[in-house]
Subunit: 151 residues, 2 copies
Amino acid sequence: MVEALAFAATGGERPARLYSIGDLASEFAVSPRAIRFYEDQGLLKPQRIGGNRVYVHGDRARLKLILRGKRLGFSLADIKEMLDLYSVDPDHLEQLRVSLAKGRARIAELERRRAEIVATLAELRELETAVVGMIRERERGSRKRKQGGPS
Amino acid sequence: MVEALAFAATGGERPARLYSIGDLASEFAVSPRAIRFYEDQGLLKPQRIGGNRVYVHGDRARLKLILRGKRLGFSLADIKEMLDLYSVDPDHLEQLRVSLAKGRARIAELERRRAEIVATLAELRELETAVVGMIRERERGSRKRKQGGPS
DNA sequence: CGTTGACCTAACGTTTACGTCAACTCCTTG
DNA sequence: CAAGGAGTTGACGTAAACGTTAGGTCAACG
């Protein structure tokens, strides 16, 4: 717990919510080891208080994005690239252009994925109704029917 | 090439399209090694002609589904489970129920993913317009502005 | 003041999904 | 008939993303 430290640091005004690695780990149901690993890979850079990692609200938000990216099947390298889009320097025009291009590429990729998910959903739903039909047929009486693989 | 064999096998009527491992590999831009690996994991079961693997249309369709599943970030084990849904025995009621449950679970998961993709897309588009704005500001004149991390 | 509980680093182990040889068997072609 | 080219089966190597000890620090608690 870093609660006491939070008060000490802010003088008791607004706690500005600080988190230990354990806090975040249990909140998001991941291991501390995993969080440290994300840091090794450059996805997180928490402050330190005497060796111990201390996470602020922004770090927590980044972790959330990391985990969402993971659920979507992105690699940590990919996720890092996406996160880095948010910390672009608005004064460096060339960087801005590069970020814009990368961002748009990500958007296009996500669009493709969404389309593939929609297609998969359609197929699974079709299969679902087919299976439901088979169950019905098997429940009343006891007929037979064959089922092929994917067309 | 198995073209000649195709004719021999069907008597020259309808070739019924057969594929060698190399055919599928180049068509889908994956290595033969990968295709063999999918077979090892039980996701494909091509026929053999003298040791050589021969794929029919259904095998090709399965491979397509495998690769789509991969692009969506599913593990081969997950993909296998999904594929197995298509080869359920319509005579075994219990299996039907199990398949139905699994299928519905997959559907629910894909729905969640779709929602997360939509959310991510929204954020990236917001970022995009922000970056576009920064670029504009930097192009005419040369002002300054700051950009924070993810909220 | 000893011991728990939460944190730390360092280092090796594990699973997934292949890549990469090596060595062999078949055609087919010059 | 020699030489490719495409296929085969091992077997070992590898990158990613952690899990799992091992060993050590430090503050709080009875």
